[in-house]
């Protein structure tokens, strides 16, 4: 080998080492080094063309992280699905389903990208927005964009609507919706929500519910494995430990006051719904015992006298406990049994609040101007939000609250159905809402809406 090639090889090797370590050097130093190497490059060709040619990849390696190369790599990292979808679908721009399909493809791809730009999400919005009747695939795209914006609660409502309320739609869209729901459930740790999946008409959803609730049949396992357990990295998800189990009975103190305090603390610190339910009932029972038996017996009198305070402090304590219980009931769903004492008071208070929420929802829906850009996606969101509030309200408030709520919700939902049929051509929403109303009408005995059973287009004709 000639001396010139040897001389040029040394800085080259050093540069390669630098490139592997990716050191943060000043830009001027980098320019000097790389410029120098590039200037020496022709010398290698002059001395030996074979050697010069063989060393070409090394010269290119020296160019690595050069601004030009960076530009190229950044360009290569663009969301190509966006461009491909645009290129492939431009003849079908007038067809809603194709455009929604492009939106879904792009959204599904963007969900896994850390380097997505706001313009990418804007592309998806523009694609999914125009169709009048948003199909399952458009709804999924909308849900994914909402999730990427950080609003997981709204996305959850949309995906729930897709999975629980409807049985048809694009297979891939439904699969994405299921995947989101299960992952979100795992993230929140609210594994009791598997009930939601278990109620679904979708066999795959029921299979997942069975797997998560620990009642795995061989058939269910096969189906779940097709969907989620087939992934190589799924070993990292601790499915078995995540399965909800029965609450083990904690050892509580014998002293009534200590027991009440322990239950109260357990309720405020509980992480799961079953634990919350357990402690809620125990706390209510024990506080009732304290305030109905111990306080009249004068359990706190000595302490009150010693501190020199008013005896009303005892009732202030009861108010504070009631506020804590109401906070828990408001934030989380707790299964309530027929109650008396402090539990009944809390229940009444929270039920009134939720009824007021439903009332607000109805007013908002009446005042709402339908969106022309996003189709009827928001109708689905409103419908699911109402279902959630309604369910909470009547579980807490009992059958009377249910009847009152139904009377309030009925005209709004009828309007919603009429709009879904006439303006949005969304017969799935109309069908879902009417079938739910029919069930509720039978439950609360509302005769006027029985007509929906046979003539659900009557509302649309008005």
């Amino acid at each position: 080998m000639e001396p010139t090639s040897l001389i040029t090889l040394l800085p080259l090797l050093w540069l390669l080492r630098m490139g592997l370590r990716r050191p943060q050097r000043p830009v001027a130093a980098q320019l000097l080094l790389r410029g120098g190497v590039l200037a020496v490059a022709p010398v290698t060709f002059v001395s030996s063309p074979v050697l010069g040619f063989a060393l070409t990849p090394l010269w290119l390696a020296a160019l690595w992280s050069w601004p030009f190369v960076l530009l190229v790599t950044r360009f290569a990292r663009r969301p190509w699905h966006v461009y491909w979808a645009t290129l492939l679908l431009w003849p079908f721009e007038l067809r809603d389903s194709w455009r929604a399909g492009a939106a879904f493809m792009t959204a599904r791809w963007l969900v896994g990208r850390a380097d997505r730009a706001p313009s990418d999400l804007a592309y998806v919005r523009a694609k999914m927005g125009r169709p009048k009747a948003v199909e399952a695939i458009g709804m999924t795209a909308f849900g994914l964009v909402t999730a990427m914006d950080g609003d997981l609660a709204t996305a959850r409502m949309l995906f729930e609507a897709l999975v629980v309320e409807t049985t048809e739609g694009c297979v891939e869209a439904r699969r994405t919706a299921r995947q989101f729901l299960v992952l979100d459930m795992l993230r929140r740790g609210e594994l009791e929500d598997v009930v939601l999946l278990a109620e679904s008409d979708d066999p795959l959803c029921r299979a997942i519910a069975a797997r998560l609730s620990g009642r795995t049949t061989r058939r269910a396992r096969g189906r779940v494995e097709q969907w989620i357990l087939g992934r190589p990295d799924l070993e990292r998800i601790p499915f078995d430990t995540l399965a909800p189990s029965k609450v083990s009975e904690p050892r509580l103190p014998n002293d009534p006051l200590d027991r009440a305090v322990a239950c109260h603390a357990g309720l405020l610190l509980a992480d799961t719904r079953s634990a919350r339910t357990f402690y809620f009932h125990r706390a209510c029972e024990t506080w009732d015992h304290v305030f109905d038996v111990l306080v009249p017996e004068g359990a706190f009198d000595a302490r009150v006298r010693e501190l020199g305070i008013d005896r009303s402090a005892v009732y202030a304590l009861r108010r504070r406990i009631k506020a804590d219980l109401a906070d828990v009931l408001r934030a989380h769903w707790v299964e309530l049994l027929p109650q008396r004492g402090i539990a009944a008071e809390v229940r009444e208070e929270v039920a009134e609040e939720i009824v007021a929420d439903v009332e607000l929802w109805a007013q908002r829906l009446e005042a709402r101007v339908p969106s022309t850009t996003t189709g009827n996606v928001y109708d689905w969101i409103e419908y699911r939000a109402m279902r959630r509030m309604y369910g909470d309200a009547w579980r807490i408030g009992g059958p009377e609250t249910r009847a009152v709520l139904y009377l309030r919700v009925y005209p709004c939902l009828t309007n919603l159905v009429a709009r879904a049929i006439n303006d949005g051509f969304d017969f799935r929403l109309a069908r879902a809402a009417t079938s739910w109303m029919r069930g509720e009408a039978w439950a609360v005995g509302h005769e006027r809406s029985f007509a929906l059973h046979t003539r659900n287009s009557a509302a649309a004709k008005r």
């Binding site: 969900v111 896994g112 990208r113 850390a114 997505r116 999730a147 990427m148 914006d149 950080g150 995947q179 992952l183 979100d184 795992l186 993230r187 740790g189 594994l191 992934r231 990295d233 799924l234 990292r236 998800i237 601790p238 995540l242 399965a243 909800p244 189990s245 609450v247 083990s248 904690p250 050892r251 509580l252 103190p253 002293d255 006051l257 200590d258 305090v261 322990a262 109260h264 603390a265 357990g266 405020l268 610190l269 509980a270 992480d271 799961t272 079953s274 634990a275 357990f278 706190f300 302490r303 009150v304 501190l307 020199g308 305070i309 402090a313 202030a316 304590l317 504070r320 506020a323 906070d327």
Partner: protein, 118 residues
């Protein structure tokens, strides 16, 4: 410090009971409360590591100057003090049921490659 100690807690959280924060028994006098509170604030201001956490039956919690001040204020009022005294668990064997929530580091979305804002 455990994961729980670093997370935000509401004022009604039993782990934030002022008696736990100051490390005192429910029979402590007003003088003892003042003395202990000032001592803790001074320790926290010079960055004492020992004073930066306090223990509760549910594990250690982070102690800051604000938390100590809040505890002192709430114990100065006899009515509030009475509430905290009553709600102070005497028996530390308050056992929570088996924890079935996934560990805090586990993010199902991340595992399946969904990149969503936290």
């Amino acid at each position: 410090m455990s994961e729980r100690a670093s997370q935000a807690v509401s004022p009604s959280d039993p782990r934030r009971n002022p008696f736990f924060v100051l490390g005192l028994a429910s029979q402590a006098t007003a003088t003892e409360i003042e003395r202990e509170g000032r001592k803790l604030i001074a320790q926290l201001e010079v960055g004492s590591k020992k004073a930066s956490t306090y223990s509760t039956p549910w594990g250690p919690m982070a102690r800051t100057v604000d938390v100590v001040r809040e505890a002192m204020v709430s114990l100065r009022d006899p009515q509030t003090r009475f509430q905290h005294e009553v709600l102070l668990p005497k028996d530390s064997a308050v056992t929570a049921p088996r924890d079935v929530t996934p560990p805090a580091s586990f993010d199902a979305f991340e595992v399946l490659g969904w990149n969503l804002p936290r």
